[in-house]
Amino acid sequence: MTTSAVKIQKLSKSYNGSEALSNVDITILDGQFFGLLGPNGAGKSTTINILTGLVRKDSGNIAVFGKDIEKEYRFTRSQIGTAQQELSIDWFFPIEKLLQYQAGYYGISPKNAKERIEELLNRLGLWKKRKSRLRQLSGGMKRRYQIAKALVHDPKIIILDEPTAGVDVELRHELWDYLRQLHQQGKTILLTTHYIEEAELLCEYVSIIHKGKVITEGAPKNLISQLGKAGITVHLTKWDDTLPALLQSYSYTQNNSQLHFTVKDAETEISKIISLISKNGCQIQRVETTKSSLEDVFLSLTGRGINE
């Protein structure tokens, strides 16, 4: 049986009477790439801030590798590395020194941290900037430093709060590659994002959170096939009156010689539809598909888009 890296049970939190989280249950398995997906203000940051000790819960339990995050905070915090959404600023020390301090907070001496820091600075393209202060770095470099800082004590669980917010496309893809690599090395990754594409591409499992509640969870593929809708448009050379009888099990609309099908899973249905139509001797000019996404899942559950 796979053990759980993080187990959140019935977590609730209010700020000045307004409910930020209500009975949230989340289980993240060891080694899983987990996405916490939701619009801004849904409660994603509150959840991870409680998990890392920055915010106090009102009720509920959180365990990291089976240990309570309050009673055994030294153990649980040493298992987690967090890249905060907000970029921190420091004007006193060069980034190499800051990483050394960060390792020190986790009980790692400068001597033991040296190799790891060098490796991270190289891997994240910051080696040449190691003597620079944070304010001298570009936005993208600051983001990469933030990730190096989360990884400096070699944690088993990596939490990334909106890691690609405000990052250009190139760096976003670089970061995705790096996260995939970390995941392959066996790290458990918790990613919060409101970028649908990011969650679909990277996460093995997602929880969709809306107004402080988990509204659904599952593997992105399963969620899409259960709750999403895809479109298949078939352009015929000419319309045939026998088609409606053959296609009666499908939901579709017709516009002259063009048929538009609404299906759950375009990949499995497309071949069936094509074979039904061609069996009747109809000639197909071309076929277009529109893919369903987590955005559709979110839309069908909440009645609005995730970034609206």
Binding site: G53, F75, S88, F93, Y105, Y106, G107, K149
Partner: protein, 253 residues
């Protein structure tokens, strides 16, 4: 205890103020030298000796205390507020460090700055006006206790403040008047009786008189009372700072 964590945060705090020594060490020395030159040499001709001690020598223990306590308190207060405002605090609060370790690191950092500043003014006095120091070990001990007390108080203020403006207000309306009214430039025997009684409620009065006793052998308050007052204040402010850190007020939601 996370000893490496404690050592790291402490050395960061100490390294932080040493890296900007022009802001954190030199100003205290320069202003103390100015006090000695302007107040001491100009007023010394007009003011009779106080308790048998020339005026310039009399004010020096007060200047040491003032430097110690302003540097110690502003180090912790500004460091804490800065970390809060610049989003650096999450790095520490999410690390496996206890409230005691975090508080200790800040307080030791502030104490080192207060101690360095106080000791440098003491040396300045020795070099500039030949200040006789009757019990140097006790003088240094006093500087340490006062630095510890005000470093703890600065941490309390820094954690409670939401802005630089609030912090400046606490320092300007509270700390500076109390230290000036603690008897840096005068003996309370020169004050009207009601003002003398008020001075007894000012903890800084005991600290200034305590160190004055260790340097010059004179004091307005009995030395043993000064000592216990200073030690009590050190313990009260230290435990209050640790308790406030544990409560997470203004730093954890």
């Amino acid at each position: 205890m996370n000893w490496i964590g404690l050592w790291t945060l402490t050395s960061r705090e100490v390294g932080r103020f040493f890296s900007v020594y022009r802001q954190t060490i030199l100003p205290g020395l320069i202003s103390s030298a100015l006090y000695i030159l302007i107040f001491g040499f100009t007023l010394q001709q007009r003011i009779a000796e106080i308790n048998g001690v020339p005026y310039t020598l009399f004010i020096l223990p007060g200047l040491i205390m003032m430097n110690t306590l302003t540097n110690a308190s502003s180090n912790t207060a500004s460091s804490m507020l800065q970390m809060k405002l610049l989003q650096q605090l999450p790095d520490i609060l999410t690390a496996p460090l206890s409230s005691l370790e975090i508080s200790l690191a800040y307080i030791i950092g502030g104490t080192v700055r207060g101690f360095v500043n106080g000791t440098l003014v003491l040396l300045l006095g020795v070099l500039l006006i030949g200040l006789p120091v009757s019990s140097p070990i006790f003088s240094l001990g006093y500087i340490f206790i006062v630095a510890w007390t005000f470093s703890s108080m600065g941490l309390l203020l820094g954690q409670l403040a939401d802005s630089w403006d609030q912090l400046a207000m606490m320092q300007n309306f509270f700390l500076t008047p109390l230290s000036f009214l603690g008897g840096i430039f005068y003996s309370i025997k020169m004050l009207p009786e009601w003002a003398q009684v008020l001075s007894f409620f000012n903890p800084i009065y005991y600290m200034i008189n305590g160190i004055r006793f260790t340097i010059l052998g004179i004091s307005d308050s009995p030395p043993i009372i000064s000592f216990w007052m200073a030690l009590t204040m050190a313990l009260i402010f230290f435990f209050s700072a640790v308790a406030l850190m544990k409560s997470g007020r203004k730093i954890k939601l």
